[in-house]
Symmetry: C2
Subunit: 345 residues, 2 copies
Amino acid sequence: MAGPSQLTGADDPAPAGSSAAGRRRATILDVAAAAGVSRQTVTRAMNDMSGISAETKRRVMEAARELSYRPSRFGRGLVTGGARQLGLVVNDLRNPYSPELAAAVVRLAADEGWNVMLVDIGLASDADRLLASLREQADVVVGYLGEWSAGWGSGLATTPLIQLDAGETTEHAGVRLDPVAAIGDLVAHLVAMGVRCPVVLDASAPREPSARGAAMAAAFREHGVEAEVVHAASSSAEHASAVTAQVVRRAAPPDALLAFNDLMALGALSACRHAGLDVPRDIRVAGVDGLTIGTLVAPTLTTLAVDFDEVARHTLELAVALRDGDADVDRFRVVPHRLVLRESA
Amino acid sequence: MAGPSQLTGADDPAPAGSSAAGRRRATILDVAAAAGVSRQTVTRAMNDMSGISAETKRRVMEAARELSYRPSRFGRGLVTGGARQLGLVVNDLRNPYSPELAAAVVRLAADEGWNVMLVDIGLASDADRLLASLREQADVVVGYLGEWSAGWGSGLATTPLIQLDAGETTEHAGVRLDPVAAIGDLVAHLVAMGVRCPVVLDASAPREPSARGAAMAAAFREHGVEAEVVHAASSSAEHASAVTAQVVRRAAPPDALLAFNDLMALGALSACRHAGLDVPRDIRVAGVDGLTIGTLVAPTLTTLAVDFDEVARHTLELAVALRDGDADVDRFRVVPHRLVLRESA
DNA sequence: CTGAAAGCGCTTACAG
DNA sequence: CTGAAAGCGCTTACAG
């Protein structure tokens, strides 16, 4: 069904079956015909422009409502240019890190007149299709691409990418987080408080420590303290909790636990509580990210905080520059973590 | 560089300065000209279609890269129809409720082939503009519109709306959460555990209780127990904590605290801890929402959980129906809360 | 106040 | 394997 559109005139193919589901979507020409006016008169009415009589406008709006007319964003965008669109890729919205980042980006983007399309690549069943759709719709894509960033450039149409997990050697623009200085501050504090047997609670599968875990161990080494690195099966609170439970049950338990991120630190805190340990008296615990949730637990969580607003600021700045093809901008930004001492360490 | 596109001819207004920033974006015709082919050959190359020689394709891609060509989503969308676009409006991404909802919606939307545009109306500096932009870009808008839902229909172009905070009398489609049965379960449990002096910790300014707070008080009344309703200045953990601190300091402190939501319950828990109270021995605490974070605190939080996947399912079903103009679908859905007993009550 | 024409950038048949 | 034509749905000048 949905007969061909005659366009310039003649017999409009009558909205087929009145069963709404099978009906071709009404266009500006349908409304014009129904109201007995020209298409630009419809445009005037729909866009609240001047130069149209109240009566005509009423008739047009009436016809539009009758036909459930909605202007096509493509038709309009083609001529107006349309709003800027930012694609934001996060890892897993259920890790509070993602929404705290997203909140900052979404807010600043709105202020700058960009819309934000959100993709959760961690929860996706078909990440490839999702990313393909995103790059087709967005002017610029920003976020945690992980392994997917590799094939980005090879694609057919090249949407600019801003990597948030960028290493030093990325080919794309990027905003990198640098915890090293803050780790130094934290470790100095811990050592000053008497910590001598720290454990680094690192994330995920790869047997070798993450860059972050390695930096933690290295910082202790500079103080003549050897840190043991243990790995959780994932960076979730649950897995962190499980590993912590094992570690604190040892004959010689650690006196500090540095987690890869706040979520893992919360899992560690929970395990310590269940083991009957007092934090920070028996063992000190700290995380990384600076999540708000860390202020709601007991004891409140010491952490290395990310300045999400700063990340968002760099992101939008880069997005604007990349969209405009501005080559003069510094494509690599670094935002340092900052030590936030609370009760747990 | 980037010569003007001759198109139908004559003097194209020359791309201004060669400073990239001022350059008009390249079109398919520019690429075609640069590669010495027709536009449909460019289409073939860009879209990885058959019927093009390897050498030609190479030349086209080369030219495209040279000109930083990116196909216009509007031009393409106009002819292909484009992907479905869902606008998701949340209240405040920093309340963990939002991301848990968003995670469910985003995941299901992706599975169904919809893109999601995210707007945080709570953090917005200019909600009206934001919503206007959203309704222009999205096929359907879903979320917590609050007061903004009022003027929705009066707008010029009417994008279908699915209200998530819909009362009974909404003119739009909606998915409503119904806590009443679960509140009954919770209160029965509390009374059975000996609770006689409960306090309902309600949200926000209006002096009269929220529907939810009223339902809590009513449920107690059915058991012959009178509940006092107190109001926090906002539904944040901080304000809930402040009010709780006052309440528990009384001569006759309550033996149970029912919070408007989990975030407030967490604030209450925190205040109880600081007051030296043991939860649940001295006082029982419960919230509403079923947030994951409730499993990470000590004691773990008893709550009335929302089935976010169920909400997402109804949402996508409605979105599809509204976009297709399908009138035969039930436009009002109800998802009940479910009591989840954990340690705090 | 209203309308006829041109054009935005792309893809889809259809010819060669 | 390649190209000329038509058309997607809208807005922006320009005439009347």
